[in-house]
Amino acid sequence: MSVNDMEVRTGVFICNCGQSMKNIDFDALAKKAASVPGVISVTLSSDLCLDEGMKRMISLIRDGSVNRVVIAACSPDSKEHIFRHVLETAGLNGNLLSVANIREQCAWAHKGDVTGKAEELVRMAADRARLLRPVERRELPVNPDVLVVGGGFSALSTALGLSAVGLRTTVLEREAIPGTGTGDKENLQGFDVGSVIAAAERDANIDILTSARIVAVEGVLGDYTVTISKDGAEISRRCGAIVLATGFRTQLAPGSDMPIDDQVASGARVVSQEQLVCMLNNSVLDARPRTVGFVFDLADDSSRYTTLATLNNALAVRARWGSEVYVICRDVKVDSEGAERMYQSARECGVVFLKCDSALKIAVDNGRIAVEARDVFLGEDIVVSCDLLVAEELPFAADGAEVLGSLSGVRMDSRGFYQDENVHLYPVGSDRKGVFCVGGCRGNPDIVRVLADVSSVVASICGLLSPGHIEADIEKVKVDPQKCVACLTCIRVCPHSAIQLMRVEDGKDAAVISDLACDACGVCAAICPAKAIEFEGYRDDEIAAQLEAIGEACMGG
């Protein structure tokens, strides 16, 4: 016989917290609690959260005399987990607990006698307890394989990290050769992408699919089915988690460029940071530019990437070419590891930094590029005349990132990068459980942060999938297929892509919530127009019972 079918026998345990709540008449409270329907036992205690205080609760549960528990004590925030654990070790489902906070929200919050309010809170908790149902927790099997989208530095580093903890990955590269899209962005921050690609190609746990892209993503955490288009054919892969590591691209900021005709005519050039690195690596370059100008942080407030690239490259230009170097920027973004030291070294070796708050004028003047800027320290317009101008670049998510985001259920942020689940607390996660984002595609283009992202996604996935199963609440939020009218409202609002329309037993289509993907946020239960979704612990009848209890307590005086 399940707990549902049994007669409700609620045990109320009231704690006076070492007799510290002097504004509650505990004898009166206990008497009132005993009169609530379903309550068969009331225990008054002064140390309920300590081993001595719990003894009676445990014995009442063990001998079967109590099958619902109401605790009237301190805030559930501090002790609920302990009581829940006690219930479970004594053999009662942890969801059959209802807590009335008579300390922080009652005795401590008011002056004077608050016995009436305490009675009301206990009545509410006990009326709710009567309706509580158990929620089973079970281990659900998961597929430990991982799909990584992208073939650049962050993608392959993630695959290598996962391989190191024993997980197999499939890496999807859009181009024919891994790392094509990455170009020299990581190389120019001092990282050898080539060696990472070579290591990944040798690794037996890593399967690299080139010229491949995602067409569809179905399923939930632990059991995704991904349809991939490769060489004109569609193939399907199953995996437990998906990592988006599609990197970023840059584009010259509007107005920072100069027409190619002018460049050819003058012999002076406007280049990107990547083009500059190619020039620096080209040892047979015949004419070394005498003066090199850099521009950054005028069009983009989040210019960590261009700041670091500029500092790196300005130092390299000084060391290899000995050119005069002028850097024009608004602010130097030094909030990355080692950046302040690089900034200092650059100034020490003769790089001149000009701070400028307004737009630049770029023109050809006598075969050279004249950059006119108002230097804020001098308060004057300065003209920097250079042979080579490294223009400001703006970072963007890779082409197709938005399509990939919508296929995999990840939102975009205001700048078009992938949105983290929580920008502070869980930066590499996304709203959809089991889908992660690392590096440039979530707006973190600098190498130190990319590496931190990679390690943290490896640890997160390892923790989730390595044991081969995940413990989850079973049907904590569930759809009644008889009431469901398949209107798709819940599927549309679910922020975690946890709901799918499925054919249920009697040939009817109904929404089905995945226990693994559900985050128990309750949005679907609140919005369902057919009231077909129930959220255990917050069911309509449970909430209504509490509201009615307030009314009754008021009527009763």
């Binding site: 030291r341 502070h424 590496l451 390690s455 044991p467």
Partner: protein, 360 residues
């Protein structure tokens, strides 16, 4: 937020949290370290304290010597403060011990020594807030209306609003001075967090009163980071930004603070007065890092943070099996610290393999 993390750690079946513990010695190697620790006595037993507050009620000192450190403390237990306790002054008061309903208070506890056997060590000792007194010319500690960003944050948390410490009035003009204890001779690094918290506090101040004038003195504004450029855009027009950080603050006879700075737009030294000056103090390495580095055999970098094995910040120290997490390795904001911390876990997993499920 830290409270939430501490609570999660305390409730986790596979995490044992030792408070009041100090590392004294280390032997062994990766996979098999022997760690000697010493635990200083806690007069209030965290396992037995129910935070009822009776002890605090009877404590005869002012301020109270036994109290709840903050309303949302984790664990939610009272602490005995040696600075105020009569017993620390040789008196024989036992009022709190007598009244405690759960016998959680015990004065005669001794320090305990304990050896732990572990496979890997993660150092996550954090940072110290730069002591603004070191910059004597800014007047912190001398002038009551010179605060640090942290002081202001505490004031907002405790009182919910900003009042001048001197006279409890609402300030009309406030200056923030950035890079106090960052980006100078002794600190060749940016602290990563100060521009963000100064802007956040400025936004709170503007929220309290739109008439309050806020000025931020800065070297370079660090507006990178998820969503920050947009936040900055929203407040850019409401705040006066002045390039260059002042080096001297003096208090006038009327109690206002006179800030001396270089107005670069006019190219001359100017003076401006403010009701309140907030110093955006930076992240400094912990001064006791040296002791830990010596015991663990790990290196310190030039700036006083723990050094990493490679030049770009990773979690690895030069000693196998010992990893770094968070700001003990260098300044980081919250998101970077979280990512770095999970990264350390990943390095440990690579070294030791996945834990065997104890209760699975």
């Amino acid at each position: 937020m830290v409270s939430d993390k501490v609570r999660d750690a305390m409730q986790h079946p596979r995490i044992r949290l030792l408070t009041g513990a100090v590392l004294r010695g280390l032997s062994g190697g990766p996979g098999d370290f022997r760690v000697e620790i010493v635990r200083e006595p806690r007069y209030v037993d965290a396992e037995r304290c129910i935070a009822c507050g009776l002890c605090s009620e009877v404590c005869p000192t002012d301020p109270k010597a036994i109290y709840l450190p903050k309303p949302d403390a984790v664990p939610l237990v009272h602490v005995l403060d040696d600075r105020f306790c009569l017993r620390a002054r040789g008196k024989n008061c036992e009022l709190c011990q007598e009244v405690c309903p759960t016998e959680a208070i015990e004065f005669n506890r001794k320090r305990q020594e304990e050896d732990l056997n572990v496979g890997a060590i993660v150092v996550a000792t954090g940072f110290e807030v730069f002591d603004a007194r070191e910059k004597g010319s800014l007047g912190y500690g001398r002038y009551s209306n010179v605060l640090t960003g942290l002081d202001l944050e505490h004031m907002f948390r405790r009182k919910g609003e900003l009042r001048l410490p001197g006279n409890d009035k609402e300030p009309e003009s406030i200056a923030f001075i950035q890079c106090v204890g960052s980006r100078d001779e002794g600190h060749v690094y940016c602290s990563h967090v100060c521009c963000k918290y100064a802007m956040k506090l400025a936004a709170l101040i503007r929220h309290q009163s739109l008439d309050t004038k806020v000025t931020i003195f800065y070297i370079d504004l660090q507006t990178a980071g998820k969503g920050f450029a947009r936040f900055f855009d929203d407040y850019r027009g409401d705040i006066r930004f002045v390039r260059g950080v002042p080096v001297e603050i003096l208090q006038t006879a009327s109690g206002e603070l006179e800030v001396k700075f270089e107005d670069i737009s006019q190219g001359k030294v100017c003076r401006d007065t403010f009701d309140l000056v907030v110093l955006s103090v930076g992240i400094s390495p912990r001064t006791d890092s040296w002791d830990l580095a010596r015991i663990l055999g790990i290196d310190m970098a030039d700036d006083g943070f723990f050094d990493t094995a490679t030049s770009v910040g990773s979690n690895d120290t030069g000693v196998g099996g010992i990893f770094l997490a968070g700001t003990c390795q260098g300044p980081k904001d919250i998101a970077d610290s979280v990512a770095h911390g999970i990264g350390a876990a990943s390095r440990v997993m690579e070294l030791l393999g996945m834990p065997v499920q104890a209760d699975g």
